[in-house]
Amino acid sequence: MRTHIFVASVLIALIANGGAHAHAMLASASPPVGGSVGAAPRQVTLSFTQGLEPAFSSVQVTDSKGARVDAGKAQVSGSTMTVGLKALSPGTYRVHWHVLSVDTHKTEGSFSFRVGQ
């Protein structure tokens, strides 16, 4: 009986060495990650690999000077998050997203896109 408990403990210790994190990954974005668009977009749409929790997911869009250019609250539906944008002049913008997947894992990331030439 004692041998069994010892073997179980060894097995459990070997197995429970922790795992990686990060579940809701960015699947696609509009404007595209690192892409260029001719006309100024009215919103940024992000699609993720997992369903999101609206109450704990957010996104910020900033211009090259660091000023916020997103307008209004981000809308979350299933695994998609959308946020409106102010009128954008040509230039480079940065999108920074923080999301909570429905299986309680937090992920974040950022990317840039260009407007104009």
């Binding site: 459990i12 369903g51 929790e53 937090k106």
Partner: protein
């Protein structure tokens, strides 16, 4: 940071499946076997043991569930433990504004309901009436099945996502029946051994084998569905952390099935009807040893499941 979460998840799964398991075992195995003339003399002892398992299981389920909530609230809100415990708004947001929180509240309700039913059963001298047992079976099964909402089962989209969730639900109930039934079985066999009630040991063992076969069938089918959905390909099984853990879980499962097969095909028939001779006693001892080994393998599976829960699945890789 993940290690306390893994430990708490493992304890919560083990406690929930054991509590649900003993309730299912009582209704399907113990009551029928102990109602017979041969089982009557063991009844009082076994029922007392099963009740101990049920109540200790309930308390551990509640405590580990509370710890899991606090750890997840900490992780989600990025607040330290003191803030989570003192500022009600953090727990309020987690409980009401997340799928995890809402499921947690449902399962708290189910646990409380099961506790009430267990208490009602305590009052019954001759074991609860039919309605009480049916209610216990339904609530216990639901308590086990709703663990599906606390894993990778949620978050998947469309019909495949719903199939995956349904498969998880059935998988957990089957696990509660089989893995959760091993501990009460061990206690029942021990009581039979002590009083040399080979007839009772054989009856219980035969019933549990049939019961276990249905559970194993369900585990295989739902396990296959889930593996295909989460790992997606044989490459994902052999090349990812998640896949490796899944393979370990499958290996442990096969060990348990092998032991159960030995129990059914060799040891149970060896428990012949006429008691007293030496061979029956050896078969019963070996049967008890096998059941304990199965319990250890089952515990290891729960540890793997706890880690799988915090590991990203293989899909998309």
């Amino acid at each position: 940071m993940d290690d306390p979460l893994i430990f708490v998840r493992a304890v919560h799964f083990a406690a929930t499946l054991t509590t649900a398991g003993v309730a299912l075992f009582d209704a399907f195995i113990a009551e029928p076997v102990l109602r017979t003339p041969a089982g009557a003399e063991l009844r009082a002892t076994v029922v007392r043991r099963l009740r101990w398992i049920a109540w200790i299981g309930l308390v551990l389920t509640l405590l580990s569930g509370a710890a899991w909530l606090v750890l997840v609230a900490q992780s989600i809100s990025d607040q330290p433990l003191e803030t989570v415990l003192s500022d009600a708004s953090v727990l309020h947001a987690v409980l009401l504004d997340t799928d995890f929180g809402r499921d947690w509240l449902l399962r708290l309700l189910l646990t409380a309901l099961l506790a009430g039913l267990f208490a009602a059963d305590l009052r019954e001298k001759q074991g609860g009436g039919g309605f009480l047992k049916v209610a216990i079976v339904l609530v216990a099964a639901s308590l086990a099945g709703t663990l599906a909402w606390a894993g990778h089962g949620i978050g998947g989209a469309g019909l495949p996502g719903s199939i995956h969730l349904a498969a998880d639900f059935v998988h957990l109930i089957a696990a509660a029946a089989w893995v959760g039934g091993l501990l009460p079985l061990a206690f029942l066999l021990a009581a039979a051994d002590r009083t040399s009630s080979v007839v009772v040991a054989r009856a219980a063992s035969l019933r549990f084998s049939a019961y276990g076969m249905v559970a194993v069938g369900a585990l295989l089918l739902t396990g296959a569905i889930n593996t295909w959905y989460l790992a997606g390909s044989t490459q994902a099984l052999t090349a990812t952390d998640y896949g490796h853990l899944l393979l370990v879980k499958i290996a442990l499962f096969l060990v348990m099935v092998a032991l159960a097969t030995v129990n059914r095909l060799w040891l149970t028939p060896a428990l012949a009807v006429d008691a007293g001779a030496k061979p029956e006693h050896n078969a019963l001892r070996q049967l008890r040893r096998n059941v304990v080994t199965e319990i250890v393998a089952g515990a290891a599976i729960l540890a793997v499941v706890a880690v799988l829960g915090v590991t990203p699945p293989g899909l998309g890789e």
